[in-house]
């Protein structure tokens, strides 16, 4: 329980939980330019009004696990990526406020929609940007980070589409699916661009991916990602068809798009880890060097093992209580 690998795995779990859970509600905001109707926007926001707070808690959880288990990386990463981190935080503040005030306002709801859309987009972009910073080990403003910024935005938007399809508002479902078809192409292209750019930038990484026998078990990753992308594309067509011909929507696999997108994220994440591991900041600091003293880890470990399953259980219960169609605005 005190090994560096355990804490690294826990950190990865927290990051993935955050990316998936807050990803879809950030994604809704990123999709706002394509959903301009007041009622549509109200429905989109209220479909996540009861969960966004819990979703964002995973960001805090990831932060404090990094702080507790790898304090030097927490310090170096956040001060290194200072401006994108601060801008992301402020963007999250603005969109969080939009949740609170959107439905209490009578005259200013348009402004809160803008705050929600813009805040979500900027937060998503900054998270991608910081990811680019970490992966490339370069904390400056560079093209690579801009690329990863937009890639993460597109990925979140795709998750947002998946959420809208689950939430069963037929008219919006079809438009979300049409958008998803475009987005999956964008995401895949961005994946390719990021991989190529990264391989071109660092010889170290090139050696890692193309050395024998690693290439054997790494090759399936990009192949799987492309296959998954194609599946998502075809699945969207299938669902659009089903919805337009008014097949009983209970028979349609509405959750599948979201699940497939999560898998796509998972593949991308594994790809990143292959490139990084065992470094946390490339060529600078490994997880073993950054690991906190045993006394600290031994204190947190039982908490994680006992509490995390409980947290997951009541989070799931919360989703269960509010499952199904969005009811009304609050």
């Amino acid at each position: 329980m005190l090994s560096a690998e355990f804490w690294f795995a826990l950190l990865c779990f927290a990051v993935l939980m955050y990316v998936i859970l807050d990803g879809f509600d950030l994604g809704l905001g990123i999709l706002f330019p394509w959903f301009r109707d007041d009622n549509e926007r109200a429905l989109m926001i209220s479909s996540v009004a009861h969960v966004w707070d819990g979703n964002e808690t995973w960001l805090v959880f990831g932060g404090v696990i990094l702080f507790a288990a790898f304090p030097s990386v927490y310090a170096q990463m956040l001060s290194g990526a200072y401006i994108p981190v601060i801008v992301m935080l402020i963007a999250l503040v603005m969109r969080g406020a939009a949740f609170e005030y959107r439905f209490k306002s009578t005259t200013s709801s348009k402004w809160w929609d803008r705050a929600f859309g813009l805040g979500s987009s900027v937060a998503g972009f900054c998270q991608g940007f910081i990811l680019g910073n970490v992966v490339s080990g370069d904390f400056g403003l560079n093209l690579f980070c801009v690329l990863t910024g937009f890639a993460v935005m597109a990925g979140y938007a795709l998750l947002g589409c998946g959420w809208m399809v689950i939430k069963k508002e037929t008219l919006m479902q079809i438009r979300a699916l049409k958008l998803a078809k475009g987005l999956v192409i964008v995401v895949l292209s961005a994946f390719c661009a990021i991989c190529l750019y990264n391989l071109y930038l660092t010889e170290e990484l090139f050696a890692r991916w193309f050395s024998w026998p690693e290439v054997l078990y790494l090759a399936p990753l990009p192949v799987l990602a492309i296959a998954l992308g194609c599946w998502i594309y075809l699945h969207c067509d299938y669902l659009i068809d089903g919805l337009q011909t008014k097949v009983d929507s209970h028979k349609l696999p509405l959750r599948l798009l979201f699940i497939l997108t999560v898998l796509l994220f998972l593949l991308g994440f594994i790809g990143l880890l292959v490139g990084l591991y065992p470094f946390m900041l490339p060529q600078q600091i490994t997880l073993y060097q950054a690991l906190a003293p045993t006394s600290s880890l031994a204190f947190v470990a039982p908490g994680v093992l006992v509490l995390l399953p409980i947290i997951l259980a009541y989070t799931l219960y919360g989703y269960h209580v509010f499952s199904g169609k969005v009811q009304s605005t609050y």
Binding site: A49, I90, E100, K104
Partner: protein, 454 residues
């Protein structure tokens, strides 16, 4: 300005802005949970009306606390990277427990509390309300533990430039922890009490017959007459604890520069940091010694004995302390008058009295902030008391980056604060309009039930 100073200003600004909201949500969560419990047990609609009335203001405030709190969990690393590295093994795990035992709990059950009354059973709804309030208390426990450890570090030693914990029990239950936790929780309850009383008064000024407002006012008055004196007593005990562990801070609070036997209590003074003395002062002879040492001629160590490089900004601490004390006295007097008026049955009457209560709404927040400034500015120049200096552990950032981030925070937070106050006011006034018919409905519902039972 130097980057280190800017980082400190930004941290102080974002922390100050944040603490406003938890101060109210801790108290309101407990109040709502209490009202829900009374409603569950007695089925009397006046309790349900209170819970309903305060739920939306609570939600607004809680939301503000969440969004401004997320910022803080990342700001340690962003602005004080060296501190995060050195003290991370102590602070990090405490915050990890805060997230695991409190934040998830609050977030998980807040959704049900706000939107789920019709989706879950009465029992589960009540349990959710209680869970959220317990969550706020647990959150306070951990963050005060972390803060108190920075004030009175114990249980950990520096090894190769990083703290290693020897005893977590000593880290958490460090010498100032208990005093600080009780003082903060009471601050939160008293602040909430004055908000509830003040809002009740403001509503009564608009409509004399408002029963929800009358309930707010009379119950808050009774709570405050107990809580306010208690808070003052706890504050005094906390002060003695500070004297034992951080004597330089107490000297700054009292404005005492030279070590004295029988030190006078400076009621007002103008501390001069460069000259190392007060430019002028009004004092009661021997009173400071009497309060601090319980002897007329007890010795109080003065600031100059600690060395110029080891004392905080004296004027800031000195005046913040007086603001806190002054408001504390006003609160005590108000609470006594309120209780006396409850006894006489006139607590909800008199335009001037009600106006006074309305003006007291911000009192708790100001006193709490002033108290935090005494504690935190008084800790300087140390970030971990007597061990690590703040100046040594700020992030190596350029001043221009900090000017940018600080400007963004100031603009964004100022805007949010105005918006928050606007919507709070609107929600409170509207809540007042919507409640009576709902209450009537509930009452008739209960009557039907009672008739059936009979």
């Amino acid at each position: 300005m130097e980057a280190e100073v800017l980082s400190r200003i930004q941290m102080a600004f974002t922390l100050s802005f944040h603490i406003i909201f938890p101060t109210l949500t801790i108290g309101l969560a407990c109040y709502i949970a209490l009202m829900e419990t009374c409603w569950y047990v007695s089925s009397k609609s006046r309790f349900r009306a209170q819970a309903d009335f305060w739920l939306k203001p609570f939600a607004l405030t809680f939301g503000m606390g969440v969004v401004t709190g997320v910022v803080l969990s990342y700001e340690f690393g962003a602005n004080f990277s060296e501190f995060s590295n050195v003290a991370g093994p102590v602070i990090g795990p405490l915050m990890a427990y805060e997230v695991m035992t409190a934040f998830f709990l609050e977030a998980g059950f807040l959704g049900i509390m706000l939107f789920g009354r019709n989706r879950v059973s009465k029992k589960i709804y009540l349990a959710s309300c209680i869970t959220v309030s317990v969550g706020t208390l647990i959150s306070a426990f951990w963050i005060i533990a972390a803060n108190s450890w920075m004030q009175t570090p114990a249980g950990a030693v520096l090894v190769d430039g990083q703290y290693q914990v020897e005893s977590w029990f000593e880290v958490i239950f460090n010498p100032s922890f208990g005093y600080r936790l009780v003082h903060m929780l009471l601050a939160s309850f008293v602040t909430t009490g004055f908000v509830i009383a003040g809002v009740g008064a403001a509503l009564l000024l608009r409509d004399k017959s408002n029963t929800v407002a009358k309930f707010c006012l009379s119950k808050a008055a009774l709570a405050l007459v107990v809580l306010t004196p208690l808070q003052i007593a706890v504050g005094d005990m906390h002060g003695l604890n500070v004297l034992a562990h951080q004597p330089a801070k107490v000297a700054a609070m009292e404005g005492i520069w030279e070590t004295e036997q029988g030190a006078g209590l400076r009621l007002l003074a103008w501390p001069n940091q460069t000259a190392g003395k007060n430019d002028w002062e009004i004092k009661i002879p021997h009173a400071a010694s009497l309060i601090l040492t319980h002897e007329l001629d007890g010795e109080v160590v003065g600031l100059n004995d600690f060395g110029k490089e080891n004392i905080p900004n004296v004027a800031f601490v000195f005046f913040s302390f007086r603001v806190m004390l002054g408001i504390g006295v006003l609160m005590l007097l108000t609470a006594i008058v309120a209780a006396w008026r409850v006894r006489k049955g006139t607590v909800d009457q008199g335009v001037y009295w009600l106006r006074w209560l309305k003006y007291m709404i911000p009192s708790g927040f100001i006193a709490t902030l002033a108290g935090w400034y005494v504690a935190e500015v008084g800790r300087q120049p140390w970030v971990v008391y007597n061990a690590i200096r703040t100046v040594d552990v700020a992030s190596p950032l350029s001043a221009s980056k900090l000017y940018l981030s600080l400007t963004l925070f100031v603009i964004c937070y100022s805007l949010l604060f105005v918006v928050y106050l606007y919507f709070m006011r609107k929600t409170l006034l509207r809540g007042d309009r919507h409640n009576p018919p709902q209450m009537a409905q509930l009452d008739s519902h209960n009557m039907v039930k009672e008739v059936h039972h009979a």
